[in-house]
């Protein structure tokens, strides 16, 4: 059972030697201070890449976060809650390997366990860039990369082909409230007739027709003829 750790000792365990990421780098933000649960890790650079979020100081020490473990991220601008404008991350699990005496986590690693399953802890991480104007870009880059890492267990294998032909990316950037009803109507028609009525937001008709034909054939084929 470890003794109560000094802040510096805790920081040393948290950080490990890391290389500068080179692949799929979407955003680099220098002069960024990282806070883990309110403990400053000092100044460094934040790398938002397709595969991982890495923060690294000038000594080459840092930490990496896997996207499936980033439950939520946001831009925090209210200085009452935290004294710096920052990119706030809610991370599933603890960053350091040592168990904090305050936590009751059953497993050391959180990678094999689903998000928030079991007694995994939650870690609050904040990145404070010197350039506060970069926060929106950091948020957007992280959002884009998150979409590259859906959970395997959430995937409905039956729906894969279905989804791929219809939607991609984030829908809803332009307030869709006036179209809410149309979308529902589209959905109803889609499931009734096997083809959408198109609200302008969907993929080109090629995708619709492809699936429509497939579904129609299956619907009306004799059981004997179905593969």
């Amino acid at each position: 059972m470890p003794c109560v750790l000094t802040e510096e000792a805790n920081r040393k365990m948290l950080l490990t030697a890391l290389d500068v990421p080179t692949e799929g780098v979407r955003h680099v933000q220098d002069e960024t201070v990282a806070y883990v649960e309110d403990d400053s890790q000092g100044n460094g650079s934040l790398y938002i890449t397709d595969n991982v979020v890495t923060w690294r100081n000038s000594s080459g020490q840092g930490f990496s976060l896997q996207y499936p473990s980033i439950s939520l991220h946001a831009v925090s601008r209210d200085l009452n809650a935290f004294p710096h404008e920052c990119l706030f991350l809610m991370v599933d699990g603890k960053l350091s390997d040592d168990a904090d005496p305050r936590q009751k986590s059953s497993d050391d690693e959180d990678e094999v366990v689903g998000p928030f399953e079991g007694d995994t802890a939650t870690t609050e991480v904040r990145f404070v860039p010197a350039d506060k104007g970069a926060l929106d870009a950091m948020f957007n880059s992280m959002s884009d990369c998150q979409a590259l890492h859906p959970d395997e267990q959430d995937t409905d294998s039956e729906a894969d082909d279905f989804e791929a032909n219809y939607y991609e990316g984030m829908e809803g950037e332009d307030n869709l409230t006036p179209e809410g009803q149309r979308t529902l109507e589209h959905l109803e028609n889609l499931l009734l007739n096997g083809q959408g009525q198109g609200d302008g937001q969907n993929r080109p008709n090629a995708g619709n027709e492809e699936n429509t034909n497939q579904m129609d054939e299956d619907q009306f084929a004799d059981a004997d003829e179905m593969q």
């Binding site: 991220h73 979308t183 529902l184 959905l187 109803e188």
Partner: protein, 99 residues
């Protein structure tokens, strides 16, 4: 239940206020800004329904919630046509069985 149905339905709720309960029991109320095919959710103007437990969340205006950590999405009752949803779900399930 096919995730596709949920995605379409959530899309139609953009601009409405919903409450999302995460698997770690945190509840977040916000205006639905957008949703993607993995049910990742973007909120604007969020409030936290349990500020004592998560005080730091109060300062957040916009946030991105990973779809896989969502336990429940609480919908405004007047925006939810349950009959429509039931019909759509039944049809979709029937079509899936015929594949």
């Amino acid at each position: 239940m096919n995730i596709h149905l949920f995605y379409s339905f959530f899309k139609s709720l953009v601009g409405k206020d919903v409450v999302v309960e995460l698997k770690n029991d945190l509840s977040i109320c916000g205006t639905l800004h957008s949703v993607d095919q993995f049910l990742n959710i973007k909120f604007t103007d969020i409030t936290v329904t349990d500020p004592d437990k998560y005080p730091h969340m109060l300062s957040v205006k916009n946030c991105f919630i990973r779809g896989s950590v969502v336990r429940y999405v609480q919908l405004p009752a007047d925006e939810c046509d349950t009959q429509l949803l039931q019909d759509a779900a039944r049809k979709e399930a029937a079509q899936n069985r015929q594949r």
